[in-house]
C-alpha cells in the first residue's frame, strides 16, 4: 500500500500540476542537492530534451528539498513517480533517450535497498518514503517554491481566504486549540492557547514572529520547509495575525541559510504583488505584512526572549522566563512567536478541520490541550543510518520504525547504539527503548525531548562520553554568560568530561559530574542552561558503564577518545596496497607492496586518515 502522499488518503490527494506537459521532471533544488550539482543536471536535462525535440512535452521543475538528501541529486518523474538518484551529468543523455523518448525507465539510476537485489522504481514504494505522512511538507517536491501560482494551484492561500471570509478570530483560536497542535520548535506548547493569550493581552500593536533560527546542530527541517514551500509559512503567519489581531510579521532567519532567505524574499514580494500580503487582504479590511530579520549565528537566539533582544539590535541575551513574551515581547508589546513548522501546519488544519488533525497522533486533547501529541513531526534523520534525510511521520510511530524501516537500518552492518533527539537540550535513547512511540511526553519521560526534530543515530563506534562532551562544549560556546550556574557550571562539567576522556579522571568524578549537572539544571536563568546538562544526565543514565570504563580501566570502548586508543593494522585483512602509507601525514606506516603494513605508535597522531582510506577495513582502533 502506498501511503506517501496520495492514493491511501483521498483528503490529502494531489491535484494535477498546472500546464499542458505530458511529463514533469521534478528535480530537487534543496541545499544538499544543489551542493551535489543539481543545477548542472538541470542544464543537461534541458539540453537533451531540446535535442530530442521534447521541449513542448516535458518540463523540468526545480523543487524544494525532496528529503532523501543522501541520494542526491534526486529527481522524480511525474506522473509515474519514478525516483532517480545520484544523478551525474553523464547519465543524462542516456536517461533522456531511454525514459523520456522511448518510455523505458532506467533501473541503474533507481534506488536499490541495501540488502535487496531489484531496483525500486516508484518513490512511494521505497522504504524511506513508505511510512511517511506529509502535512507540513505536503507540497514537498510537487511544486516550484519560487512560483506563487503553483502554490495557489495546490490550495494555497485558501485557508487564509476561509478564515477571512467565514471565521471570526475567536473561532480560529478555538479551532487551533481543538486541533491539539503543539509548538514544533521544541517546547511543545499548545499553539491555540498561545494565540488566545496573545489575543487577550493588552497593548498595541501586536507582532507575529516566525522562529527560523534553527540552532540545533544536525537538524534542518525549518530550512527545508522555507526553501521548499515558503508560502505555507507566510500563510500560517497571516492566519495567526488575523487570529490575534496583528498586522505586523517578522521572520527571524539564520544567516547561514542563503537559499532559504532568497526564496523567502521572493515569496514575500510575490505575495505582496498578489495582494495576499499588504493592505486590505481579500478586501476584508485585514492588513498584514512580513519583514525579515537575519540572525547572526547564536544558538541562544532561538530562545524567545533572546530572539527578540536580537531583533531589537542587541546581543541575544535571554531574560527571566516569568515575563511572558506573549504579553511583553518585541519592543515590550504582545508578541506571538512560533516555529516555522508550526506555521506550516496551520493552513491544512483550517482547511480540513481540527477534528481531522486531532485524529492523527497520540493521546486525547479534547479536554486538555497537553493531553496528547497530534499531527505529524518532521525529523532530520541523520548519522549512521543508510537513508539519511528529512522525514515526516505521524506522532506515535516507534523509533524502531523510523530507524530501521525508514532509515533502512545501520550503515556498514554496525550495531545500533543510541539515537540522540532534542539537540543540545535533549538526550540519548538506547536500544532497549527502540519501541517507544515518539511523542512529546514519551520522549521527555525517558530523559530526552522532542526538540525541534534532530534525530542522530549512533552506532558502536560512537563514544557516549565524547557525545556528552561534544554538546557541553557546544553549549559553553553558546551560553550568553549572563548567569553563573550556566557560565561556570558548564565549564566545570567540561573540565571533568575532558579528564574522563583523557583518562586522567579520579575515582568519584562521575558522582561529582552528576551532582554538578543537577545543580546547573536547577539554577540556570533560561532554558538553555536549564536543559544543558541533559546530554550528560541521559548518557549517564543509560551508558554509565561506558563512563566507568574510561575512569577505572582507562579504556574507551567505542575507540574514540584519542588519549585512550591506539591504531594498528590487522594482518589478516591487510592486502599491502600501500594506500594508507601514502596518505599518512606523519609517515608512521611501514610496509611494501603486498607486504602487511604496520603503524609506528610513536609517530602516529591518531588522525584517522588511514582508517578513512582503507578499503579492507584493516585498521584497528582499540
Amino acid at each position: 500500500m502506498s501511503v506517501n502522499t496520495d492514493t491511501a488518503r483521498p483528503e490529502e490527494q494531489i491535484s494535477p500540476r498546472v500546464g499542458g506537459y505530458r511529463m514533469h521532471l521534478m528535480l530537487c533544488a534543496g541545499t544538499a542537492c544543489v551542493a551535489s550539482n543539481s543545477y548542472r543536471i538541470k542544464e543537461a536535462l534541458e539540453r537533451e530534451i531540446k535535442k530530442h525535440g521534447l521541449a513542448n512535452e516535458i518540463a523540468v521543475v526545480m523543487t524544494g528539498c525532496n528529503g532523501f538528501c543522501a541520494q542526491g541529486p534526486v529527481m522524480v518523474v511525474q506522473p509515474d513517480e519514478i525516483f532517480y538518484q545520484h544523478l551525474t551529468e553523464k547519465d543524462i543523455p542516456h536517461l533522456v533517450e531511454e525514459h523520456m523518448l522511448k518510455g523505458r525507465p532506467v533501473p541503474a539510476l533507481m534506488y536499490t535497498p541495501p540488502a535487496g537485489k531489484a531496483a525500486i522504481p516508484k518513490m512511494s514504494e521505497i522504504g524511506f518514503f513508505k511510512k511517511q505522512r506529509l502535512l507540513a511538507l505536503r507540497n514537498r517536491g510537487l511544486l516550484d517554491p519560487e512560483s506563487i501560482d503553483e502554490y495557489i494551484a495546490r490550495d494555497g492561500y485558501r485557508a487564509l481566504a476561509k478564515v477571512l471570509t467565514e471565521m471570526t478570530p475567536e473561532q480560529v483560536v478555538q479551532e487551533m486549540i481543538a486541533s491539539g497542535l503543539r509548538g514544533r520548535g521544541g517546547g511543545g506548547f499548545p499553539t491555540g492557547i498561545k494565540w488566545k493569550t496573545c489575543r487577550e493581552a493588552p497593548g498595541e500593536p501586536k507582532f507575529v514572529v516566525c522562529n527560523a533560527d534553527e540552532g540545533d546542530p544536525g537538524a534542518y527541517m525549518d530550512r527545508s520547509i522555507i526553501e521548499g514551500d515558503p508560502h505555507s509559512v507566510l500563510e500560517g503567519m497571516a492566519i495567526a495575525a488575523y487570529a490575534i489581531g496583528s498586522s505586523r510579521g517578522y521572520v527571524y532567519i539564520r544567516h547561514e541559510y542563503p537559499l532559504a532567505l532568497q526564496r523567502l524574499e521572493k515569496a514575500i514580494a510575490d505575495a505582496r504583488a498578489f495582494c495576499l500580503l499588504g493592505k486590505n487582504i481579500f478586501e476584508r479590511g485585514f492588513d498584514f505584512d512580513v519583514k525579515i530579520h537575519r540572525g547572526a549565528g547564536a544558538f541562544v537566539c532561538g530562545e524567545s526572549t533572546a530572539l527578540m533582544a536580537s531583533m531589537e539590535g542587541r546581543p541575544g541575551e535571554p531574560r527571566a522566563k516569568y515575563i511572558h513574551t506573549v504579553e511583553h515581547g518585541l519592543w515590550d508589546l504582545p508578541t506571538n512567536l512560533n516555529n516555522v513548522e508550526t506555521y506550516a501546519n496551520v493552513p491544512p488544519i483550517i482547511l480540513r478541520g481540527a477534528k481531522w488533525f486531532a485524529g492523527i497522533g497520540t493521546g486525547d486533547v479534547s479536554e486538555n490541550p497537553w493531553g496528547g501529541s497530534k499531527g505529524t513531526k518532521v525529523f532530520s534523520l541523520v548519522g549512521k543510518v543508510h537513508n539519511t534525510g528529512l522525514v515526516e511521520v505521524p506522532m506515535g510511530i516507534t523509533l524502531r520504525e523510523i530507524v530501521f524501516d525508514i532509515g533502512g537500518g545501520m550503515m556498514k552492518g554496525r550495531k545500533f547504539k543510541a539515537v540522540q533527539t532534542g539537540g543540545p537540550s535533549g538526550g540519548v535513547i538506547p536500544e532497549e527503548l527502540l519501541d517507544l512511540p515518539v511523542d512529546f511526553d514519551q520522549l521527555t519521560r525517558v530523559g530526552s525531548m522532542m526538540g525541534s526534530g534532530g534525530m542522530i543515530v549512533m552506532d558502536d563506534t560512537d563514544c557516549m562520553v565524547d557525545i556528552a562532551r561534544y554538546f557541553i562544549d557546544f553549549l559553553i560556546g553558546e551560553s550568553c554568560g549572563k548567569c553563573l550556574p550556566c557560565r561556570e557550571g558548564l565549564t566545570q562539567i567540561n573540565a571533568i568530561l575532558n579528564d574522563i576522556c583523557n583518562g586522567t579522571a579520579l575515582e568519584g568524578s562521575i558522582e561529582l559530574l552528576e551532582e554538578l549537572a543537577n545543580t546547573v539544571k536547577e539554577c540556570s536563568l533560561c532554558a538553555l542552561g536549564g536543559s544543558a546538562p541533559n546530554p550528560v544526565l541521559s548518557t549517564l543514565r543509560y551508558f554509565r558503564s561506558e563512563y566507568e570504563a574510561h575512569v577505572k580501566e582507562k579504556r574507551c570502548p567505542a575507540g574514540v577518545c584519542k588519549a585512550l586508543i591506539t591504531y594498528s593494522i590487522d594482518p589478516a585483512k591487510c592486502t599491502g596496497c600501500l594506500v594508507c602509507k601514502r596518505n599518512c601525514p606523519q609517515d608512521a606506516i611501514a610496509g611494501d607492496k603486498k607486504v602487511v603494513h604496520t603503524i609506528d605508535a610513536d609517530k602516529c597522531i591518531k588522525c584517522g586518515i588511514c582508517r578513512d582510506v582503507c578499503a579492507f577495513d584493516a585498521v584497528i582502533v582499540r
Binding site: A35, F68, G72, G218, F299, V382, C607, I609
Partner: protein, 159 residues
C-alpha cells in the same frame, strides 16, 4: 585589504540609519570586508550615535562576525552533531595541520585559507560537510578536502 568608507556609508544609508538594524549593518560589513575592521566599527558607532562597546559586544557575541581578516578562501568545517559523529571534528584537526596554522581563524602563510568550525550548515543528510570559499562539499573526508585545497593552490599559482 580595502577599508574604504564609501561602502560603509552605503550600508548605513541602506538601513536608514536605524540602530535597531545594527546587526544587519554589521552583517553587510562582514560580507563586504570579510571581517569587521576596527576603524569602521568606530565610524559606525559615531554615525549611529551608539557606544562603540555595543558594537564590539555584538561583534564578539555572534558567531557570524570576525575581528580579523579571513583567508581568500575561507574554509568552514561543519561540526554539527551529524557531522561530528561522521568525523567532522577530525577533519577540522587535519585541515589545521594541513594548513600549518595553530588555531581557527588564522590565515595560512600563503594568505589563501583560513579554517573555522561551524555548527551545522543544514546539509546534515550529506554529513560530513565542508565548505571551501562558499562551495559545499558533502560526504567528504580529510583526503578529499586536502585534494581540493591543493587544486585551489595550483589554480592560484597559475594566475
Amino acid at each position: 585589504m580595502l577599508t574604504d568608507e564609501a561602502k560603509l556609508n552605503e550600508i548605513i544609508e541602506h538601513w536608514k540609519r536605524d540602530s535597531s538594524y545594527l546587526i544587519e549593518m554589521l552583517q553587510d560589513v562582514q560580507a563586504h570586508y570579510r571581517y569587521i575592521p576596527h576603524p569602521l566599527a568606530r565610524r559606525l558607532a559615531e554615525e549611529l550615535d551608539v557606544p562603540v562597546n555595543r558594537i564590539f559586544h555584538i561583534a564578539t557575541f555572534y558567531k557570524g562576525f570576525t575581528l580579523e581578516p579571513r583567508g581568500k578562501f575561507p574554509i568552514a568545517v561543519c561540526t554539527g552533531t551529524a557531522c561530528h559523529v561522521k568525523g567532522g571534528t577530525r577533519i577540522l584537526e587535519n585541515i589545521l595541520r594541513d594548513l600549518g596554522v595553530e588555531r581557527e581563524g588564522q590565515v595560512s602563510a600563503d594568505g589563501l585559507f583560513s579554517v573555522e568550525s561551524v555548527r551545522c550548515v543544514g546539509c546534515c543528510g550529506l554529513a560530513p560537510v565542508v565548505t571551501v570559499g562558499g562551495d559545499v562539499y558533502g560526504q567528504t573526508s580529510s583526503v578529499k578536502i586536502s585534494r581540493i585545497l591543493e587544486r585551489v593552490r595550483k589554480a592560484e599559482q597559475a594566475h
